[in-house]
Symmetry: C2
Subunit: 255 residues, 2 copies
């Protein structure tokens, strides 16, 4: 029997420790192909490259059968891998492990999760992994058994069409992680603040900063609750931005 | 009584004809503030700028009380406008008019719609407008009465929290447009093809191209159907990427 084909990407770039950890864990379960951005692409959301050209370059950082750095966004990487690099559809797309949380509202800004969503749109089973630790030196090893278990289950169970998993891993010691919860995305928001500075030439520039606010800290069926209580959170994620519940109310806009 | 405060942005850039047309139409209904990208940002999705600085520069292309070109993405523009430029929350955020369709799956790649979504997340009523004509010389005038009517209704009706409108305008003569339909996002996808070329130095590069496939051409309650049948499509749009229907099925991933 053919080994499962596992495509791996991320948004921190092909040389990030998080993707290396992921490709090592995943290599136990199949043939690994890595197509990942050639530079950090955090916050890129579902961006694609349509006004510029794309490049692919071979790299040699992972133990993969094919490994490429792509000049585009995380979503570009999945599209190029599936439609150009690979000869057959991957059995599983893995994105991450992101250095930093992609729970709740962060899912829409996240290149890591957009790549996972694109994997599901392209018809593969797909998982995005994020560790709640932004440090480049983050320790991924406490999560290894959970990452393994989710990959194993994803390969052995069918997934609803177009649905991927948004997995967030708490920053805890292995024996402090209580288990895995399948939950929904918490209602939350960033309250932004633009930090104003002057450049050496006296002109203003800005850094986007902000504070995360969970609007429903009491709800126990959300990813934020799971993470705050020592669980790995798994949110089944798909793209249908239609507010179905609002359609009848908004029929007033018809003419 | 204070005039409504209307924030206008887009993804084609502050100098695009589409945003100029929109600001002219909207100026009948309130005080106009324009904060839009300083260059085309098509396909940027919900990207935000976190690894680079942001700049704002005054421009003078619209008949607006404040007008700024921002070096960031469409979502950055809304965040900067709401949290830095404006003294009060806008009553209405308008994004567009995009040169090209943002119906169906295009909503996730669209900077125009991501800006509209961000407007709703920031607590304002919000509409993204797109004309199904990619040309820079597209004629927006046939749609004027529909754009006006939607702005007027949005200012006079409350909207469900977090929901914005994804409005697509067919490329038709004014008297050929049959009306406005409030519908859902059609299930569709792009089948990508990467066009391979050689640069003058003999190295490969690629252009993302593709073909749009509507998976449910028979359904009459979708945006694609409405547009194909001569209607303006209005999809109530919000960000909750949770596949709620899949949560119970995927409880098998818990441990």
């Amino acid at each position: 029997m053919q080994k499962p084909l596992i495509l791996i990407t991320n948004d921190d770039g092909v040389f990030a420790p998080g993707i290396r950890f992921l490709s090592q864990v995943a290599s136990k379960y199949g043939e690994i192909v890595v197509v990942a951005p050639d530079k950090p692409q955090s916050g890129m959301g579902h961006a694609i490259t349509i006004n510029a050209t794309l490049r692919l370059q071979k790299t040699n950082y992972h133990n993969a059968s094919i490994e490429m750095a792509c000049s585009g966004t995380p979503v570009d990487c999945v599209k190029m891998a599936v439609n150009h690099v690979l000869k057959r559809r991957p059995d599983l797309v893995l994105s991450g492990i992101n250095h930093g949380s992609n729970s709740s509202i962060n899912v829409i800004y996240s290149g890591t999760m957009s790549a996972a969503i694109e994997g599901a749109l392209e018809g593969s089973r797909s998982i995005g992994f994020s560790l709640c630790d932004y440090s480049i030196d983050a320790d991924f090893t406490p999560c290894e058994s959970f990452v393994s278990s989710l990959i194993e289950k994803a390969l052995s169970h069918s997934m609803p069409k177009g649905v991927c998993l948004n997995v967030n891993l708490p920053k805890l010691a292995a024996n402090a992680i209580k288990g895995i919860k399948v939950v929904r995305q918490a209602k939350a928001q960033w309250i932004e603040r633009f930090e104003e500075r002057k450049d050496p030439y006296g002109r203003d520039y800005y850094w986007l900063t902000g504070e995360f606010v969970n609007f429903e800290p009491e709800s126990t069926d959300t990813d934020e609750w799971a993470l705050a209580n020592g669980y790995v959170s798994v949110v089944p994620t798909m793209v249908d931005l239609t507010a179905h519940g609002a359609i009848s109310q908004l029929k007033i806009f018809e003419s």
